[in-house]
Symmetry: D2
Subunit: 352 residues, 4 copies
């Protein structure tokens, strides 16, 4: 199969590098364009980018010239955006207007009523917002986003419970990895022998994005799911992998065993299955009393599986559990690539 | 003033060492006896004990012989117990029977209806269980305990809110320090680049002990406070200082500002004030959006103050906040010493 | 090809687990027997062993019964030994006497004049000690060892320099990973925000083992290489990967460029090439001023490559450089497996 | 005693904050002026400075206005400089020219033949360069520096050995704390589960500064001490406290016991004794096989004492040992304050 040429916007940052790493050898997509800040424009990627991931930068991208982040410079049918929100604000619509499909990790348009926040195993039907978005803006391209990294794992787990038992209220307390703050991100002096009980803007996202993804797409757009979320978000001294403690009030009572079975048996909608990045299994339920742990479990299913553990009854609500998800793979670059695979299968990205 | 000779039971462990460190130079108490496991009995403390705290072991205790943990060997009016629960089970009553006052950090008797769990700034009146305990068991000594380290800080904060607004439901998620697991405790391989979302037995303690301390002492003993607690407890890579995220449903609605004012103005009962270990202030409320942090705030008030931050309204309950407390000072040895000071002032420990 | 059935001695510990992990899917060897301490004997491996590595225990070994560490129980032609030195002392000769080949990671016999310490890319000819050993002890099996984890990487690098320039004196200062201390190993309380400038017995090994491996096998056995090593060994807060700073006095003067070229061009003897575990390349020389780093470089060549960086002239001796090697892969289980592959090719292990 | 009004240049950075912290309550000096970058000028220090140290910013400095770094703005007889080297280059001579004494932690003038690098317990006589410096430049003020933080501890230890045994060659390998890189300094992503075997410019300083401090002041200036130093410098995941492994060739042979005794008995020149910051003892020799350790030993003598351990014979040179010194106290702000105390006693700073 001929591969689709793709671009990575903000390819030199930490999420950008994950895009490059995960797209290396991808069966459908081939990186042919990378963009960066003005400072690096024109130089080879291998010279501009200080590679932060274990192992070496893929050979093939070393010589790609760093381009400016504009649709004129990046003439491909699909781009992955690792742009900062404030730059994505203007740049992503410019790409969509120029007929380019944008799979974005940025938060800029997640709250836009016409832009879906997609998790293929949760709400692939929200992709049908794309034609609405195109017609409203007179775009030939489009923007689709993946959720914030902390919302990702918890939404997958909540989806399984919502389908079966209904959701009323959710308390979420996160312990988030350093890579979630980008690079250079958190100074080592601030986190050694420490935790930081605050991440700017994060609690709002965690309290809202899952409700959009778990909401219903109707003629008037997406109706937010009718349950409440309250969050504390914390930074801990972990490189990768966000852990979230959830306490959940269900519509229907359910035992811990029923909840475990429901999570274990959860299957993604068929359209999200057997894609190159489909996690196997979508949810892994661990039985050990002290799991999931980020160092041990974050790479489950190549970093794409949602790992759940400590499922137990709660004394005030119904159920308590712990969710772990790899924040820069499942929660960022990998999630965005999985979305592109879904949207290609759905026909929103033209065949090469 | 002549000082009261005291003993430290299990003086070689990590909490035992904190007792030794904090009692060095204490104006009222003087360590004259230390006990340890059989292996070390008879040898000088300075030889048996591998000192784990920054700085050197106090000179004065180096030559104390390590004694067996029995009232015959330790003939003093007051002992501090850092015993493991399973040893405390038999040993502490033996001391009480022999006429010795036991201020214990062990969990063995916290659930005993005759044994108070004391925080001087919260429930000094619970000390009146002591005569009940003595008469029931025909003891001339007694046992009083301090709470589990995680319960400590949150109970101080909840007390202020209970007094003013009433409590209905509390969700607590802890991020607990390594020193809470004793020594050797957590293997470094298990916690590097990691968190462990489980601490054996901890959630039960956190859900129960605050209700006893915030309960009412009547003729039939202590009536548990009538509110519910649900907890997740986690181990993080922090040396000292337990952080707890609390989400609180109050009896009466209250704004974040009212809650902050209430916490800030909280005063310990007069009998708990102006003791050598009285924390100043009892509760410190920080305004920065990213505090309290264990590395920066654990030593507030010499490690005895309860530090609260991020007080803000909650979307599902009423109030969210973060509590930090030094787990081996306020939550263990320091708390036990503060209790002894209170109980001395109340006349439960004879004057020297 | 039919695979050779092998046993892993002390399979439940941290190096034992690495053996299990690395032998999973090995083209020549198949784990059919695992041994453990008395406590676990008879139970399935999956029940006895608390798996410490990321990912799950290979399915295939879960149901193997844990056997006692004796040749009667473990009837296979080849065993890998992860035994503690004091147990290896008696156990390994018992296996050799029973006709079993022992590839050992234990230090017990490294100083034995008849037992080779092998690194296939350095001294495969030392394997010829095996018949000497067999005839002296009247054994039909044999013992071959791999070096201490810290000696491993530095010996590979020194070999390349010895061949070309000769060696006179070497100063070595190590910064060693936690996994080198086994499990539970270093308590987290001891290493958080800390280094420990001492590892028991390590400096002796680092000063002696490389001289044996770089020595000459003659009729009278191995003559130690005629150069001196002086070492400081330190423990640092790193999970895997030992880093060693070397300052080297050569027989012949050489520039940093010549040294880099020599390291880069180093080729293992042909007999060590194209084995399943042969590192590619044997030595990787990095040019960045701040590499090698354990987190980024330890998995080079699947954790088998010796990574060298910061090659530069020295003001007192000739050359300074930094060597990194994965301590539980290249420096332990992986090294031992590579040795077994070499010895199979050399005919010391019978074909299946 | 009336205190001398002093200024702190670059008071908002990490070393600047240490100056503020250590000068709080100083018996001789009182901070009346603080400078910062343009961005903060005119605002109160308490508003501009994000306080990084445990505990709170001293009350007294909160309301000091942040001044520009110029002698016109800061009219005091003495300033402490925490300026970056490139700014110190122009700024420090401007202060000296304006008649202000500059005790500098910056590296800009350490190599200047007229500027002393001072450690009061090592080379107080080098202060006599000050009049030479003044006359050459026609300055009424002057500049005196303290050494690089890594050079500090090792020079104190080497001084004791130089006096008694003479020095020939020294190999130094450092493991340096995060705070040595300033703030924000090292990104947490770069150092978690890692070491970085490189610190820009550090090896040059470590190889040269001790030779100047241990050199002889004659009529032609300072003659460098006639011995060689070779260094590897590494960054490790430690908050404060630089550890250096030294291997030393002496002029006269000496046993480990003689070296320990010599270090233990080392006394600072009388003029450096009994100053407010004089470390007690100047050198502490620890006997435990695994000390010094940064977390346990860095605060020895209020962070001013040089702690030595693991003194043992070396197989290639004469002696091996490990030196620990607090890098932001003894090796930066505290060292500079100690210098000012010395220079005040010597009459180089006018009485208030």
């Amino acid at each position: 199969m001929k591969r689709i040429p793709v671009g990575v916007l903000a390819a030199t940052g930490s999420v950008g590098q994950r895009f490059i790493q995960l797209l290396e050898g991808h069966p459908w997509f081939e990186v042919v364009a990378v963009t960066g800040s003005d400072r690096g424009t024109g130089k080879p990627y291998g010279e501009v980018c200080r590679w932060l991931l274990p192992g070496d930068m893929p050979e093939r991208v070393r010589n790609l010239p760093v381009l400016p982040t504009s649709p004129e410079a990046v003439q491909v049918p699909l781009v992955f955006s690792a742009l900062p929100a404030e730059i994505a604000q203007d740049a992503e619509p410019a790409f969509a207007r120029a007929g380019i499909a944008v799979c974005s990790n940025a938060s800029a348009y997640r709250k836009d009523p016409d832009v879906p926040i997609l998790l293929p195993e949760v709400n692939p039907d929200h992709a049908h917002l794309i034609p609405v978005q195109q017609s409203r803006h007179q775009w030939t391209g489009w923007i689709a986003t993946n959720p914030n990294c902390t919302s990702t794992g918890m939404t997958v787990a909540l989806k399984a419970l919502q389908d079966r038992f209904g959701l009323k209220r959710v308390f979420a307390v996160s312990m988030q990895a350093l890579s979630g703050a980008g690079y250079p991100g958190v100074p080592a002096m601030d986190i050694i022998d420490n935790i930081i009980p605050f991440i700017s803007g994060e609690e709002d996202k965690v309290e809202w994005e899952p409700r959009k993804m778990l909401g219903t797409l109707g003629t008037g757009g997406i109706q937010l799911a009718d349950f409440g979320i309250s969050a504390h978000t914390n930074r801990v001294n972990v490189s990768d992998g966000h852990t979230v403690c959830l306490t959940i009030e269900l519509e229907m009572r359910a035992s811990a065993e029923e909840v475990k079975r429901t999570l274990r048996e959860y299957q993604a909608p068929e359209i999200a299955c057997n894609l190159p990045s489909t996690p196997l299994p979508p949810i892994l339920v661990r039985e050990e009393e002290n799991r999931p742990q980020p160092r041990l479990d974050r790479m489950t299913g190549n970093g794409m599986t949602t790992v759940v553990g400590r499922v137990r009854a709660d004394s005030l609500f119904d159920i308590r559990l712990v969710v772990l998800s790899h924040n820069t793979i499942r929660g960022a670059a990998g999630g965005s690539i999985y979305n592109a695979e879904l949207l290609y299968r759905m026909g929103y990205i033209p065949k090469p």
